[in-house]
Amino acid sequence: MINDKSSQKIVDIIQNWARKQSIWVLAYGTGCGAIEIPPTMTSRYDAERLGVRGAATPRQADVLLITGYLTTKTLKRVIRVYEQMQDPKYVIGFGSCTINGGMYYDSYNTIKVLDKYLPVDVYINGCMPRPESVLSGFGKLQELISEGKANGAQEYKDNLEWYRANQKRIIPNWVMPDYNW
C-alpha cells in the first residue's frame, strides 16, 4: 500500500500540509538581521500563529534562517549546520546581504551570493527586512512547501559537487565530515 502511487500522493499532501503548518526555524543569527527575529516572534507580529517556531538544534529544525551576511569564517559553520539538518529542510536568505552582498558588496571576506554555497529556497529582501516582510517570506515558503516546490535540499544533493567546489574555494583547508543522509 505504501508503494501505491495514489496513496503516496495522499500521504504527500498530508505531509506537505503538516510541514507547511509547522515550520521550526533555526535562526543562524550571523548579521544584524538577527535583531528582527525577536519582534517577529513576539506579541506584535507573533509568527507562532503560523506555526513558525524556534528550534534549538539543527537536528530538529526545518528551516535554516540566514539572517544577514556570511563571512568566510561563518560559512563553514553554516554549511555544517545545514548538512546536519534532516530532510525535508529549507533555507531562507534573510536580507540583501545574502542576495548580492548588500552593503558588503566589495568586502573581501564576506559571501556575496549565498545561493552558490547553499540552496536557498526563499530570499527575503531588505536591509533590514521588517518583520512584515519576514512573515511574508515565511508565507512564501509555506506556499512553496504546499506546492511541493521547496526542494532546495534535493537540489543540493543533486549538485553536491558543484556546491562543494564553490564551498572549497572559500574554505581553503576543508576538514568536514561527510554529509548526513
Binding site: 498530508i14 505531509q15 503538516a18 510541514r19 503548518q21 509547522s22 521550526w24 513576539t42 506579541s43 507573533d46 507562532e48 500563529r49 503560523l50 506555526g51 517556531r53 524556534g54 528550534a55 534549538a56 538544534t57 537536528r59 530538529q60 529544525a61 526545518d62 534532516q86 530532510d87 525535508p88 548526513n180 543522509w181
Partner: protein, 303 residues
C-alpha cells in the same frame, strides 16, 4: 471479557485517548500562554501538526543503539504510568493494569523513562544533552521529596498504597482529598510544578541555554516519539492527580475538566516566572513544598 486481548485493547484505547488529550492540552497551553503574552498564538491543534511533521521527517543518522532505544524506554514509562493509573472510576471503559501495581510502583516506573531517555541522550555525545540530564535528575531529587511526602501522608492516613483504594475512600466519604488533606494536595501540586517542567523549572530543556537539553540530537521520529510520550505522560500524571485528590472522574467530560483544571496550575505559574538555576530549583522544592509535606504528614498522623 477478561481476556488478554481485551486488556491490550484497553491499553491501546487509553493510549490513543491520552495521546489526543495530552497533545490538545499542550496545544491549548501554547495558546493560553500566547494569549497571556498578548499574542494570537498557534491553533490548539498545532501540536498535532508538529507531531505529524516530525514523523514525516527523515531520520538519516543515529549515534548508536542507546539513542535509538531511548524513546522506546521513555514510552514504556509513560504507558506503564497510564496503565497503572485508573482513568475513570470503577475501572470503567479502560481496564488497565491498575490492580497489579500501586503508588510505590508508580513512583519508580515514572523514572524508568527519564533514565532510559538520559541514556539515549548520553550516547549522542552532545555535552548539552548531558548537562540537561544532570539538571533534570537533580531537579527530580528536588521535587520527589514533597511529592513523596504528600503520597506518604495519603498512604498513612488511609492505610493503603493502592490508588484504587484511595479513590474508594473519596467516593465513600464524598469529599475530595484535596479538601480533607489540603496540605498533601498543596505539597503535591508544588511538586507538580517541577514535574511538568514549565518555567521556572524548565532548566532541563532550557531553550537557548542548552540548545534543547537531552533531546538536542534527536529529530524526526525520535522527537515525535518523545513528544507523544510526553503527551501521554502528562495525561497520566494529570489523571493521577485527579484520582488522588479530586475523587477521580465518572466520565470523560468530568475527567477532562478536572485534569485541565490541574493542568492550568503549573502552566499559569510558569507563564509569569523566569527560569531558576538548578540549585535554586532544588532549594525551592526543599523549602515550602517540603514544609507542606511535613504538615501533610503531621496531619495524617494526628487526625
Amino acid at each position: 471479557m477478561d481476556s488478554i486481548w481485551y486488556k491490550i485493547l484497553g491499553v491501546v484505547v487509553s493510549f490513543i485517548l491520552a495521546f489526543i488529550v495530552g497533545m490538545t492540552y499542550m496545544g491549548l497551553s501554547r495558546k493560553i500562554i500566547a494569549r497571556v503574552q498578548n499574542r494570537k498564538g498557534p491553533p490548539f491543534y498545532q501540536n498535532f501538526i508538529d507531531a505529524m511533521k516530525l514523523y514525516s521527517k527523515s531520520t538519516a543518522i543515529h549515534h548508536g543503539l542507546m539513542q535509538h532505544l531511548g524513546p522506546a524506554f521513555i514510552m514504556v514509562s509513560s504507558i506503564m504510568t497510564l496503565m497503572i493509573v485508573p482513568v475513570l472510576n470503577d475501572g470503567k471503559w479502560f481496564p488497565n493494569l491498575n490492580f497489579d501495581g500501586d503508588l510505590i510502583f508508580l513512583l519508580y516506573i515514572m523514572v524508568f523513562g527519564p533514565l532510559g531517555m538520559a541514556l539515549g541522550a548520553g550516547q549522542t555525545g552532545n555535552p548539552n544533552s548531558a548537562i540537561g540530564v544532570t539538571r533534570g535528575l537533580s531537579q527530580m531529587v528536588g521535587f520527589e521529596i514533597p511529592w513523596v511526602m504528600a503520597l506518604v501522608a495519603l498512604m498513612m492516613q488511609f492505610k493503603t498504597t493502592s490508588i484504587v483504594d484511595l479513590m474508594e475512600v473519596q467516593a465513600q466519604s464524598g469529599t475530595w482529598l484535596m479538601f480533607s488533606s489540603p496540605f498533601a494536595f498543596i505539597a503535591a501540586v508544588l511538586a507538580m510544578l517541577g514535574m511538568f517542567r514549565y518555567s521556572p523549572f524548565d532548566i532541563v530543556g532550557a531553550p537557548t541555554e542548552l540548545a534543547s537539553g537531552p533531546v538536542s540530537e534527536n529529530g524526526g521520529k525520535y522527537l515525535f516519539t518523545l513528544m507523544s510520550s510526553g503527551a501521554v505522560f502528562a495525561f497520566a500524571k494529570l489523571t493521577l492527580y485527579v484520582d488522588l485528590f479530586m475523587g477521580g472522574a465518572d466520565n470523560l467530560i468530568v475527567l477532562l475538566l478536572k485534569t485541565f483544571a490541574i493542568y492550568l496550575i503549573p502552566m499559569l505559574y510558569g507563564v509569569v516566572s523566569p527560569r531558576y538555576r538548578t540549585e535554586q530549583a532544588i532549594r525551592y522544592f526543599w523549602g515550602w513544598p517540603t514544609f507542606f509535606g511535613l504538615l501533610a504528614i503531621l496531619h495524617a498522623v494526628f487526625f
